[in-house]
Structure formats: C-alpha cells, structure tokens
Symmetry: C2
Subunit: 592 residues, 2 copies
C-alpha cells in the first residue's frame, strides 16, 4: 500500500522564506500565521490525511460507491467515520469567515490542505472540496438569508455541496442547457431536467446536500444570457433550519468511471424540485464562474497532490528495489544488486517530477495568496493587481498542474516496472484518478482558450504586461549575482520566448483567430514554464540564504535541473506557436 | 462502443508507393505480394478484426479472466469462438515457413496484422502474439525434433506459447533469477520455481500451452552466464505428438491489473515440471533475446495499433459532437452548435496523433522489412545492413511507439471530455490497455539504455553512421526540389541535432557513462523523431507523385504539420542531452 508524508517543511519554506506571508499580518485571517502556528496547523492536517484518509484510498477505489434501488448512495466502508473526523477537525470551514462558523484562515492555507487531502485520498477530498466551492458561490452571490441558512451547516460539514452544470448534450457550451425553472407563486422555482457527471451528487456522508444548479427560467433568452443559478437542497430546510421535506430530485445512476471510484459521480434527475434563485436572474453563468475559478485553482492543486504522492512512492521503491548495477560500478557490492536509484534514467524521472512539483507548489501558493489579497487587501490597487494575476494564472495552473500531475503519476508508475501496472502497489490508481483533473472544471483545451482568448487581451493586456515586468525585473535584479546565474540566465531566454510568442499573437491572431486557437495549448505551457522558472529563481534566492542546510542544497540542485533540462522546452513551444494555424486547419473535416 | 476500420489503404500506400516491396520479389515469401494480393489479405485481416475481435473488446475488459480452484483459467465470453475463427484463418502461422504449416509470408505483413489485431482487441491479440514470439525462438534455437513437435501445432494455433522470464525479485536484471533446472537421467530437466507476470500463462483457448522458461541448471554459474532456456509444455506430447501427461506446473494466481483484463497475466508455479533444453546450456539469455527482439518490435506495433483506434474514435466524436462555435463564426449555422472539429485545439490534438501514427507505421513497416531482408536476402552485405538497422531501431520503435501510443490514447480520450472518462465510450480502456506497452518487454528506460549503451557503440558505431548517411543522402537528393522544402529543411536541422548529440556522447560519455544514462531517453526520442522525419520525407515524395488525390493531399498537409510542429522537439532533446549528468546525479539517495 502506498505511503504518504505531508511535505510540511517544504510548505513552510515557501510560505515564509519565499512568499514571506508575514508581510500580510495586517490582513484579516493572517494575524496568526507565524511559522509556529503554521507548523502546528499543517502537521495536524498532514496527520489526519496520512492516518485517516490514506488507509481508505485503495479500499475505496476497489469498493466504489453503490446506489440502492431507492436512489440512495453508500460510500465505501470507513468513509463515513473518516468524514466525521475531518469535519470535526474544522477543515471544511477553514477559509470560511468566523461569522459563519469557519476558521477564517487564508485561502492560501486552504490550498495547502487541498494538496494534502488529494495526496492521501483524492476521491474523499472531493466531498469537502465541492462543499467549499458551493460555499464560495453562496458567499459572493447568495442573499443574507441564503448565507445564514446554508453556510454554517456547510462550513461544519453537516451539509455538503455540489455544482450542477453539465447535461448530456452540453458540457463546455453551457448556452445549450435545457434544464428549466418554473417560477412558483411563493417566489421559489420548480426545477426540471437532467444533469450528468455530478460529483458527490448523492451520498451518505452528510445529512443534507446543497445542490447549486444552472437552469433556464421559463421565457428566458436562449444561449448563455438566459441561464440562472439556483440553490436546490436535497432536504428543504424547515423553520428551524433543519433538513425538512425531501425535495423532488434524485440520483438516477452512478457513472462507471476510469478512477475516483470512491466519489459518487451521479446522473441527477430534477423533477420539479423546489429551488431558489441565487443572485440575479439570467446572470447565473457569472455567478457560477466565482465557484468555477475557485474550483479551477483547486483542481490544479489536485494535480499537484497526485504528483507529490506518486513521487514519494516511486522514490521509496527506487531506494529499495535491488536490480542491476550502476553504470559506474557496484554501489552496494555487499548486495546481489544495487538499488535502482543509482541509474541516471530513474533519477532523471524522479528529478523531473520533483522539479515541477516543487515549483508548481510555489506557484499555486503564490496564486492562492493573490486570491487572499484580492479579497482582503485594503488597497484598491493591490486588489486589482491581485485580481489580474489570479485571472491570468488560474487557467495556467489548472491545465499545467493537471497535465503534470497525470504525467508524473504515469512516470512514477514507470519506476516500478511491472509492479506499477498491478493494483497491489497502488500506483495505477494514481494514474486513473489523476486523469479526471485534465478534464473536469473545463477541459485543459478550454483553459488554454480562456487564457489566449480572454485573459491575455483583457484590459489591453494589463495582466500579462505586469507579469512580464515582474519576471524581467527579477532577472535584472539577480543576473549580476554569479550564484544566481544558473537559474536566471535560462529564465531570461525563456521569458524572451514568451515575449516573442505574445508579440506574434498580437501581430497575427487578431486578423486570424485560428492562429491563437492553434497555439493556445503551447502558449499556456510556455507561460507556465516561465512562471515556474520565476518560482525557481525565488526559491534559489531563498535557499542561498541558508545554503548550509541539506534541504536547501537539494533545492539548489533541483532548481538547476529545472533550468538545464526543463526550461529549454520554451523554445519548442515558441516554434509551434509561430508555425500558425495553416497545417492545423487545412484538412476538410471529412478527411479526419 | 468504439468502432474500427483497418487502415488498409494507408498500409498499401506504404508498402508499395513508399517502401516498394515489389523490389524484393525474388525473396522467399515476397513472390506474391502484388498490390492486389496485398489488398485481399489485408482486407480479410481487417474484416476479422473489426467483425470478430472488436465486439469482444469492452466485454472482455469488464469480465476479465477467471481462475478456478483447480488452477484452470477461463477467458471472457466469446473469446474461444473468436480464437477459433482467427486460428482457422491461418493468421497465427502467417510468417511461419510453409514446411511447418505456416503461410510463409513476410514478417512485414505480419507486422501489419499485429497492428490491426491490437486496434480491435489488444488483450485478445496477446494470445496469438505470444505464440508467434515463442515460435520465433524455437525456429532459431530449437532442435529439429523440437521444431517438428511444436511449431506445426503452434502455427495452427492448436497450441499456444508463452515467455517465462520474470520472478518476484528479478525483472530487468535476469542475472538474479532463481528458478532451477535439475538434470534427469532421460536427458530432460525438472524445473522448480515461481515466475510472475506471465501473459497468457494459462487459458482455455488452446489444447496445450508451450512455455519457454528461463532457469538455472544446477551447478551453473551465477549471474546471466548461468541461465538456460527450456521448453516446458503444459501437457507433455505423447508418441503421436498429442497432448499427453499433465506437467507439474500451474497458474497460482491471476494478477489484478490496470488494463488488458482479458489477457490472463499469471503467477506460474513450476514444481519439478518436465522440460527440455532449447539451444545450448547457459546460453539461454541469448536464445531468449531472439524472441525478445521480435517481441519488442511487436510491442512497438501494439502502441501504434492503440494510437490508431483511439484516433479513429476521437475523430468520429469530433465530427459529430456539437458544442460551441468556431472562432471564425458559425460553421453549421442551421444547428444549435458547430461540431467540435472546427476548433483549432481539437484539430491540433488529432493532427498530432495522425502525424505520429502515420510516420510510426511507415517506420515500423520499414523496420519489419529489414527483419525480412536479414532472414531472407541472399547477399551477406544486405543481411548485415539489415541486421544493423534492425538492432538500432528495435529499442527506438519499442519505446517511442509505446510512449506515443499511450499519449495518443490519453489525448484522444481528452477530445471526448467527460465522456472520455466513463467506461461507456471505451476510450479509457485504450488508455489502461496502452499503459502496459511502455513497461513490458523491457521498460522504455531499458530500451534507451540498450540504445545508447549497446546499439550505438556496437561495431564502431556502424549502424548509426549508416542511418545518418541515409538520412543525409535523402536531404541532399531532395533539398533542391522546392516542393520538398517544407519536409526536408526541418529534417536537415533535426538530423544536425542528432549528429551533435551523438558527438557529445562520444566526447563525454566514454569518460563518464552517467552522461549517456542521463541523456538516454532524450537521445532515443531524438533519434526516433529524425527517423519519423525521414519517413515523412519519403511519404511526401511518394504523395507528390499522386498529388491530385485527396488522400495524398492529406498526407502532404499532415507531413507539413509534423515538420512544423513536431520536429522542433529535437532542439529541446539536444539541450537536455548536453546538460549532462551533473544535476541528475548530485543528490544523495536519501534526499529523494
């Protein structure tokens, strides 16, 4: 069975040495995040993940969720007790304001916890994760009454949440959605329609499930401008706010999936279910986007979590497994063979995962910190800059970290050879679970389109210019320092590629949007690599200050590996982008 | 359920227009491979795959193989009848000499059929595939009596074959193997030990199973120099050559795997089983290598087959699925949305699979043709050149085509969004099945080491020099032709990268072998890309001769896509190789 140890030291290094969150002590929620409190919180979070959640990961995958004739859904053995422990620890309400019973801690810390939970038990983590997403939408768009009714119960984990968007004929293109909402005399709506792929749609962990549902009010315009957001609880809260009458909605089926078997992915049937409008009529998509941005960042972090746990188990195997001899002569002459960690290609695999995961974690936390600044900073300029960066980086983090998380799981599995392919070692589950992260919450191709089509041109390219200025500023400040050379010189080349690609889009894609579409995925990865390179620069600078410590020496080596071996990819990405759309678009559809 | 149509036209284009196999009419087995016979054979082969094997692919995955208490193994429903049809078609004996009841056709045609079978039903294809591998070893190393006893039965598919190498503590490093062979007075041996991961180890498709087993004769030297190859049938042939006494071997367990569920992957227990030496004592590894080379090429082709079928289904979905509008305005204004094939990023995904699969097929067939020349050409020089090329390209094809096959399956799955993740559409099975190809028959990292450590330096680099000379010659012959420019100019740059990388190894890796190890995977892919680029050059030249045909126009576009978007990867590979081993090897093992 796989093992897992939460990377608490690395997180503390990032939050304190690299991101210096102490600077933000004046912000609400940041008052108490000293190095010591941080460690206490994170170690407790890591402990519950390793002790309560990890042991259920493989058994949950084997057992899956089961739907009974009456439409009720049973989660795998042990999930209910683990959920109780998690709930009671207050982890679900961690980022929720204290007035609703939450801990009011920074989103940045919540991001850390999302990573730990995913590493330990991805499918389990989706239940609290969806509740947090639904709370985020209600906190921003819900009425006072809605917030008072739902948030405290959800923050405590007594009730859970879901997002209902997809229908059989519409996923990406929500303008096609058909679920309808009929206004009722009492101000509520009756929802009718079918939703598919609803994660945590029905289960036995919480006493109530709060569904957020996109639907079209009768008579509303066609397309995306006629979509509204509704809150539609499984049990309608009674006068005391307790679960009352059963609503007219049910789980019609659990999907058979490649992975995340312990999470109930439901077909949800709404049959005139009572619901209430959240926010304004016909503005549902915008309201849902609040939830989707939170969710996209969280999905990127899921990629990170899978990469981390896959790495830990591949590294442990590589240190233990005796097979063959080092190219440079026996390293364990007293044993029948050397551990496979002596082989350069095994190390290359592990170093690649490590270099991308450590920088990915830095970027995820730096971006989560922007989310906190956006919500909590008193200065309007700071809030705007944070919003810009958050908007720019959300699609990058979602797509890049999930592409990497999956690839890392595959490569970590490869380290185990045949043992990686059988269920016993748990590595193949990481691969199957990780695969969904590239698809849900907007498939990665959609993230790339969001980046080049929306985030890049917005406000005259302000967000991108600010990012380029920051990276270029970092290069200028550090290029004279010889110790920083190995990190800064390759970064300078790569940020140059990014500037060239951006310029190429400006000169070509406005006249011909297909040029942007054909280069979108490469541009996302190019921007992502530069952002990771910047993070490695920041980490190297922080590590140099404590370079006598073995952990910091490892950082410096890993950063060099990244700069030498992974950053050169930006040149290839640029070449692809500037190849343009011609050969991509030339074939008639019937020739595919 | 996925659909499949064998790419017969593309294969005929490759065999006739590109590879001109008609040139080899004087070789045994090539006499009758005119364009027309080819088409008849391939269409019949494609038909049986699509009609008999494809319909069992998903059900076989769901059902899997079941081991009964008595150690017998049942294959999924329908497999026995499909196997009978396949066997009766003579497909298993296709490349076997007529004197043993085979068709005596070229290995090149067998390679085509291996692709088709894998596309239709990967797990099924492994049963005849392993029989062919075992026959290959017996044909080269078996005694006359062994060949007469086993080959006709195996070629007819009445008996099947296996390879028994791996043990719990030894996979890559066969020198560690412990299974022992005790000489018996009658000249036979008694085999005792446990083998794991034995594909098709036990099943109900054939009346007998011929196990080829690696074991150590009592008193033999330790390490790889004390390993011998044995033939160890499930039922010992009686005087009439029919299955007689049950041998002391059995399936102890079926492994639970990520995919290829319909193939029985067995733990095999040998308990003093009667066996006979194949070839010389203590030379078993060399004998097994014959089988392994065949098998490695076949595994590369499995990667190809999975990529092809995944592509076909993703393309069909992309043409049908209505979602969103083209960036350049509606393309199907009469419909609620455009088919997603209008989106550049979807096309980029499909074009990438297509460009690599078409060139991969060309390279696989060109290499299989070298195998035929090596075995059948009268001229010693031709045989030597063929052997060189085969040795050089076997690890490249195995690793590159399986890396691609898996990646293609993943990317094709991505085209279907959420529908790709659920079992219903069949795409996730392709991913799970494809994954094993990167692991078995020598994990891809081992292939890379075989390439840089063995194949590259062998005979003073003769094979590599011949390859470079051929590609450079092609560039020189064609660079003056403007129509060939888009294919030749990028190839020229890439072959330059390959030469630089080769030179770098010569200058650095002899003194420090870790430099070769650290760059081995990148070198394999660099060489592979150049070889694919060369194939695109050959295909473009052939297509230009018939450029009025839509299929040839599609070839020319696809080749341009490859040259513009995929060949630039060689620069990145070179940068990684020349980064060397320093940052790869720097961390102490305990820091991983």
């Amino acid at each position: 069975m796989p093992s897992y140890k939460a990377p608490v030291d690395d997180v503390i290094f990032l939050l304190t040495d690299v991101l210096d969150i102490d600077r933000h002590r004046e912000l609400p929620g940041f008052e108490d995040v000293s190095r010591q409190t941080l460690r206490a919180i994170l170690e407790e979070g890591g402990r519950i993940c390793a002790e309560k959640l990890l042991p259920l990961n493989a058994s949950g995958d084997r057992e899956g969720c089961r739907r009974a004739e009456d439409g009720s859904v049973a989660t795998p053995k042990g999930f209910k007790a683990a959920y109780e422990a998690y709930r009671e620890g207050g982890w679900i309400g961690l980022p929720v304001p204290a007035e609703y019973g939450g801990m009011g801690l920074p989103a940045t810390l919540n991001a850390v916890m999302q990573e730990f939970v995913t590493s330990a038990n991805f499918a389990f983590g989706m239940y609290p994760g969806l509740t947090q997403g639904a709370m985020a939408a209600l906190l921003v768009h819900g009425s006072q009454e809605q917030k008072a009714t739902y948030i405290p119960k959800m923050a405590a984990g007594e009730w859970s949440g879901t997002m209902n968007l997809t229908e059989p004929h519409c996923g990406t293109d929500l303008g096609l959605l058909r679920t309808r909402a009929a206004p009722q005399p009492d101000g509520s709506y009756a929802i009718t329609g079918q939703k598919i792929f609803i994660s945590a749609g029905e289960h036995d962990l919480a006493e109530n499930i709060v569904h957020l549902v996109l639907a079209r009010i009768e008579g509303a315009p066609a397309g995306t401008k006629g979509i509204s957001l509704f809150v539609c609880p499984k049990f309608i809260p009674d006068a005391e706010g307790r679960p009352g009458r059963r609503n007219a909605l049910s789980c019609g089926k659990i999907e058979e999936k490649m992975g995340i078997h312990a999470n109930a992915t439901c077909v949800m049937d709404y049959d005139g279910a009572t619901a209430w409008l959240v926010g304004e009529a016909n503005k549902g998509l915008a309201a849902m986007f609040v939830m989707m941005n939170e969710a996209r960042l969280a999905v990127g972090i899921q990629g990170l979590g899978i990469g981390e746990v896959a790495y830990q188990n591949a590294a442990a195997y590589a240190r233990d497994r005796l097979q063959g001899r080092a190219l440079t002569g026996p390293k364990a002459p007293d044993k029948p063979a050397d551990p496979i960690i002596v082989h350069p290609d095994v190390r290359r695999t592990l170093m690649t995962i490590r270099a991308l995961t450590e920088a990915g974690r830095a970027l995820a936390l730096a971006t989560a910190l922007q989310a906190d600044l956006y919500r909590r900073a008193p200065d309007e300029k700071v809030r705007q800059a944070a919003d810009d960066r958050l908007g720019l980086m959300t699609p990058v983090l979602k797509a890049m970290l999930t592409d990497y998380g999956f690839t890392h799981a595959v490569n970590a599995q490869q380290v185990l050879g045949g043992h990686g392919y059988i269920a016993e070692w748990g590595m193949e589950q990481f691969v199957r679970d990780a695969r969904i992260t590239m698809i849900y919450e907007g498939a990665n191709g959609i993230q790339a389109l969001d980046l080049v089509g929306r985030k890049l041109p917005r406000d005259g390219g302000r967000a991108m210019m600010a990012f380029l200025a920051e990276v270029n500023g970092f290069v200028r400040e550090n290029e004279a320092d010889a110790r920083m050379g190995p990190y800064v010189a390759p970064l300078k080349a790569s940020v140059g590629h990014l500037q060239q690609a951006t310029m190429w889009f400006m000169q070509n894609a406005i006249a011909r949007p297909d040029h942007a579409g054909a280069g979108s995925a490469d541009y996302l990865h190019l921007l992502g690599l530069v952002a990771l390179g910047h993070m490695w620069g920041l980490m190297a600078r922080a590590a140099l200050a404590r370079s006598e410590e073995p952990a910091m020496q490892a950082k410096l080596v890993t950063g060099r590996f990244f700069a030498e071996r992974l950053l050169p990819e930006t040149g290839m990405r640029l070449a692809r982008i500037t190849a343009g759309a011609d050969s991509v678009m030339a074939l008639p559809a019937e020739m595919f």
